[in-house]
C-alpha cells in the first residue's frame, strides 16, 4: 500500500537504505548527517553502529560489502576528508555488495568549520555521485545507488546539503514492503581486493570501463531530467539549487536537472544546450557543473551572476538572474523591510552548568596557550571565556599543539584540548606522537561522556553501543598511561581549585603530564543538577567577576548588580567559587535575596 509520510531528507536516506536491504549502516555523527544512522537504527533488520571515525566507518562498510552485504556509510562533508584514503582506492577495487556513502555538505557553515563542495571528491576519486533534491529523491536515489553500485561494480556517493538533509517533505512509501537483507556470494579474488601495484594498474582500467558502462545505463541516465518549457533560456542545475530555480522561475524557463553529478552525461547537456538560446548554470558553492559544461564547448553563464559562496535561496537566485535579463515569477520587493542593523548578536554559548566552562575560564586566567578542537567546547573560544587560541579540525587539538610546541620560548607549554569522542576519533594519535617526538604539550581531555554537540551519541567512552548494549568503557586515563604519559591529573569539572592546580602542575612538570577534566554533559537524561544559587545583592560589590564565566543563567541588572535566573541555573556552583565576596549562596527554598 502506498502511503504519504512527511520525512526529512536524512530519514528518506535511511528509509531507502532499509528498503534496499542494507546489511550494515555505519557512520560518525556530524551535522547535518547524524539522523540517517539514528533513523536506520530504529528500523528492524540492519546492523547499525557508530564508528570511532569516518575512515573506520567506510572501511567497515567496505569489509561488509566485500563479503556480499550492502553497506551504508554516513558522515558530514569534512568527514569525507578523514575517509578519503580508503575512498580513492575502493573506487579501483570495486564492490561486491552495494556500497553507498551519504555525505552531507553544509553551505553557509551553519554547524561547520568550512563549506567545502564535495562534488569535487566524486570527480577526484572517480566515485559516481547522485544528488537528490527532496526527501522523496533521498529515498529513491539511495535505493537506486545500491542497485547501480552492484550492477557496475563501483561505490556510490550520495551528496546531501543541509537544506536537503534537514528539510522535510512528503515521501511516498510502500508500507507493505518489509526488510529483506540483500546478500551476494563472496569469492576470494586477490587481483580485485588486494591492491598491489600490478593489480591496481589493472583495476584502474576496469574502473574506467565501469564508469563508461554506468554512463550508458538508462537507469543512471534517467535521473538527469530535461524540462523543456522555453526555447529562449535553459538552466542547468542540481540538488537544492534546483528547488531554488523552480521556486523562482516556475516553468518559465527550461531546466536540466542533473541527478547524476558524476560522471556527467555530456550528451544530455549538449542536447539541452541545443534546444535553448541561452544557457545558465545555477549551483551552490563552486562552479563544478559550469566548469564541465564549458569543457564540453557549450557557452554558458553561471558564477558571473550566482554567488560562489554561502547558501543560495530562491530570492538570491532570482535577484542574481534579474541582472542577466531573466524574469522571476515574483520580483523581490525592494521596498520590503531593510535588515535591522546594530541589534545584539545571539551567538551559541555553553549551557548553564556545562562541564567545559571551568577549564576555559581558568586557562585564560593561567595565561596558557590553548589549541581547541571540534565540538561544543569550541565555544570556549567565545568571549568572555576567550579560552582558545587555535582550532581547526577533529583531532587537531593535540596535533597542532605539537607543532606549536616546537616554536615556543624555553620552558613554556601549549595545551591541546579535545572532548572524549574526539579523543577516540583521532586525538589518540596526537598523544602517541607527543610521546614519540618528545613534544612537551599538555594534552587535555574534557570528558563529558557523550558526543554532545550532535545530540548525545554513544562513543567508546560511554560504555554502550548505539543500540544501548553494554560494551567495554574506554578510559582516557588508562590510554594516556599506556602510550607513555607519566602522570594523568584528573580533576572534577566543577572543582575550580582542582583544575587550577592541575594546570599549574602540568605547566611546571618536567615529566609527561596529561589532564582529564570529568563530568557528564548536563543535558544527559540522568545528569544530576545541584541546588540553584542566588546572589545576595547586599554582599555583591559589582566586581562582575562571575560574569566572566559566560554563564547564561547570570546577568547584569540595573544598578550594576548581577542576578541569577534560578530557573536556568543548573547548580554547578562555579559562580559561588569565583565570587571573592561570598555574595553567591545556595538559594533558600521560597526565599528571595
Amino acid at each position: 500500500m502506498q502511503q504519504k509520510m512527511i520525512l526529512s531528507g536524512n530519514e528518506g536516506v535511511a528509509r531507502g537504505a532499509w528498503e534496499a536491504g542494507v546489511g550494515l549502516g555505519i557512520g560518525y555523527p556530524g551535522t547535518p548527517s547524524t539522523e540517517i544512522v539514528e533513523t536506520l537504527a530504529k528500523l528492524e533488520g540492519p546492523l547499525v553502529a557508530w564508528a570511532v571515525n569516518e575512515k573506520v566507518a567506510l572501511e567497515q562498510a567496505y569489509g561488509a560489502c566485500v563479503t556480499g552485504m550492502r553497506g551504508l556509510v554516513t558522515m558530514k562533508h569534512v568527514g569525507l576528508n578523514v575517509a578519503a584514503d580508503p575512498l580513492f582506492t575502493i573506487a579501483y577495487m570495486g564492490v561486491n555488495g552495494g556500497l553507498v556513502i551519504a555525505v552531507a555538505d553544509d553551505p553557509s557553515m551553519h554547524s561547520s568549520q568550512n563549506e567545502q563542495d564535495n562534488r569535487w571528491y566524486a570527480l577526484h576519486a572517480k566515485v559516481p555521485m547522485l544528488e537528490p533534491v527532496s526527501s522523496q529523491e533521498c529515498r529513491d536515489y539511495t535505493r537506486l545507488a545500491f542497485e547501480l553500485s552492484e550492477r557496475h561494480d563501483v561505490p556510490f556517493l550520495l551528496r546531501l546539503v543541509t537544506r536537503v538533509s534537514h528539510s522535510r517533505g512528503l515521501v511516498e512509501i510502500d508500507t507493505a514492503a518489509g526488510y529483506r537483507r540483500t546478500s551476494r556470494r563472496y569469492e576470494r579474488n586477490v587481483p580485485k581486493f588486494v591492491v598491489l601495484p600490478a593489480h591496481a594498474r589493472a583495476r584502474r582500467l576496469v574502473l574506467e570501463k565501469n564508469l563508461a558502462n554506468l554512463l550508458s545505463d538508462p537507469e543512471a541516465r534517467g535521473v538527469n531530467k530535461m524540462e523543456i518549457t522555453s526555447s529562449e533560456v535553459g538552466i542547468i542545475t542540481s540538488g537544492a539549487s534546483y528547488n531554488y530555480v523552480k521556486e523562482a522561475f516556475g516553468h518559465r524557463y527550461s531546466v536540466l536537472k542533473m541527478g547524476l553529478v558524476y560522471p556527467l552525461d555530456g550528451e544530455i547537456i549538449r542536447e539541452f544546450a541545443g534546444r535553448v538560446q541561452r544557457v545558465f548554470v545555477v549551483e551552490e558553492l563552486d562552479p563544478y557543473l559550469e566548469t564541465h559544461v564549458r569543457a564540453l564547448g557549450v557557452t554558458c553563464e553561471g558564477k558571473k551572476y550566482i554567488s560562489p559562496f554561502f547558501e543560495l535561496n530562491p530570492q538570491a537566485v532570482a535577484t542574481s538572474l534579474v541582472s542577466a535579463g531573466l524574469e522571476p515569477l515574483e520580483r523581490p520587493d525592494p521596498a520590503a523591510v531593510e535588515p535591522v542593523a546594530g541589534i545584539p548578536a545571539r551567538p551559541p554559548i555553553l549551557c548553564a552548568g556545562c562541564p567545559h566552562r571551568a577549564f576555559f575560564y581558568l586557562a585564560r586566567r593561567e595565561k596558557v596557550m590553548v589549541v581547541g578542537d571540534i565540538g561544543c567546547y569550541t565555544l570556549g573560544a567565545m568571549p568572555p571565556l576567550d579560552g582558545i587560541d587555535v582550532s581547526a579540525c577533529m583531532g587537531g587539538g593535540f596535533s597542532i599543539a605539537l607543532g606549536i610546541s616546537t616554536n615556543l620560548p624555553e620552558g613554556e607549554k601549549v595545551f591541546g584540548v579535545l572532548g572524549d569522542s574526539t579523543f577516540y576519533h583521532s586525538g589518540i594519535t596526537g598523544a602517541v606522537d607527543a610521546v614519540f617526538n618528545r613534544r612537551p604539550i599538555v594534552p587535555v581531555v574534557l570528558d563529558n561522556r557523550s558526543t554532545a554537540m550532535t545530540g548525545h551519541q554513544e562513543n567508546p567512552g560511554t560504555g554502550r553501543t548505539l543500540d544501548g548494549e553494554p560494551t567495554v568503557m574506554q578510559d582516557p586515563e588508562r590510554i594516556f598511561r599506556a602510550v607513555g604519559f607519566d602522570r594523568v591529573l584528573v580533576a572534577g569539572a566543577y572543582d575550580l581549585e582542582g583544575i587550577r592546580n592541575a594546570i599549574r602542575e602540568a605547566k611546571a612538570a618536567r615529566d609527561r603530564v596529561a589532564i582529564i577534566v570529568k563530568a557528564p554533559c548536563r543535558l544527559l537524561k540522568d545528569a544530576r543538577r545541584g541546588p540553584a544559587r542566588e546572589i545576595v545583592t547586599h554582599d555583591c560589590t559589582k566586581c562582575k567577576n562571575c560574569l566572566r564565566l559566560g554563564c547564561p543563567a547570570l546577568s547584569l541588572k540595573e544598578g550594576g548588580y548581577v542576578a541569577i535566573d534560578t530557573h536556568a541555573c543548573a547548580g554547578c556552583g562555579l559562580c559561588e567559587q569565583v565570587c571573592r565576596h561570598r555574595a553567591v549562596r545556595v538559594k533558600e527554598k521560597g526565599g528571595t535575596a
Partner: protein, 193 residues
C-alpha cells in the same frame, strides 16, 4: 493555482520551535496540501538564534526562502523578531511573543537589550500582533507549552483554523501526559488573537 504560503518561526534554542513547526507541517499535510519545511540543528541550537520555515501550497519546490518572501513570521522572542523582520513581505504578518531573553553580550553587560522593540516593529510596513504566550502558558500550569499557544494564535491569524482538526494533530504530536495542557494551550492561543 493558489500561491505558496510561507511561514517562518524564529526564537532561541530550547523554546520549542521545532515542535511548533513540525505540528504545523503535519496539520497542513493532512489538509492535503504540499508542504516543505527546513530546520537548522547543531551548533545553532546551543542557546543561539534558531529559525525554521514551513512553505505550503499546491506545489512547493523550495523549503527555504530568502529575505522579503515570508508571509507570516512567528517570533517566540522579541529580539529575534527584530533580527528576522526583513524576511517578511511588505504587509506580511508578524506574530510576536512578548518575551525577552537576553543574549550573551547582554548578559555580560557588553550591550543592552533594546527597550523599544515593540515601537520599532510597529513602525514597519507589516501587520503586527504581540501576545504574551509565556504568561498564558504559565496560567495553564506549564510554561513549556508557550510554543503551542503561539501555534494556536498562528493557526487563527493565518486563516487555517478550519482546515483540519488541529486538536487532533497536536494531541498526536505530544506525549500523553502533556496532551491535556497542550490542547488548552492551542485553544488559548486561538482566542488571544
Amino acid at each position: 493555482m493558489a500561491p505558496t504560503k510561507r511561514v517562518m518561526f524564529a526564537g532561541v534554542g530550547g523554546q520549542g520551535i521545532l515542535l511548533a513547526s513540525r505540528v504545523l507541517a503535519e496539520g497542513l499535510i493532512r489538509a492535503g496540501v504540499d508542504v516543505k519545511s527546513t530546520e537548522v540543528h547543531g551548533m545553532a541550537q546551543r542557546g543561539g538564534s534558531v529559525v525554521t520555515q514551513v512553505c505550503f501550497g499546491e506545489r512547493v519546490y523550495s523549503p527555504l526562502v530568502g529575505p522579503g518572501a515570508i508571509d507570516i513570521l512567528v517570533s517566540l522572542e522579541k529580539l529575534e523578531a527584530l533580527r528576522y523582520v526583513h524576511f517578511l513581505k511588505r504587509n506580511g504578518t508578524l506574530l510576536v511573543n512578548r518575551r525577552e531573553i537576553p543574549s550573551l553580550p547582554v548578559l555580560t553587560g557588553a550591550v543592552t537589550y533594546p527597550r523599544d522593540i515593540e515601537e520599532r516593529l510597529a513602525s514597519f510596513p507589516v501587520s503586527l500582533c504581540v501576545i504574551d504566550a509565556d504568561r498564558e502558558a504559565e496560567r495553564l500550569g506549564n510554561p513549556r507549552v508557550m510554543n503551542v499557544v503561539l501555534l494556536g494564535a498562528l493557526v487563527r491569524l493565518a486563516g487555517l483554523a478550519g482546515l483540519v482538526d488541529w486538536k487532533e494533530v497536536v494531541a498526536e504530536a505530544v506525549r500523553p501526559q502533556y496532551r491535556e495542557v497542550n490542547l488548552r494551550a492551542l485553544d488559548a492561543g486561538m482566542h488571544l488573537v
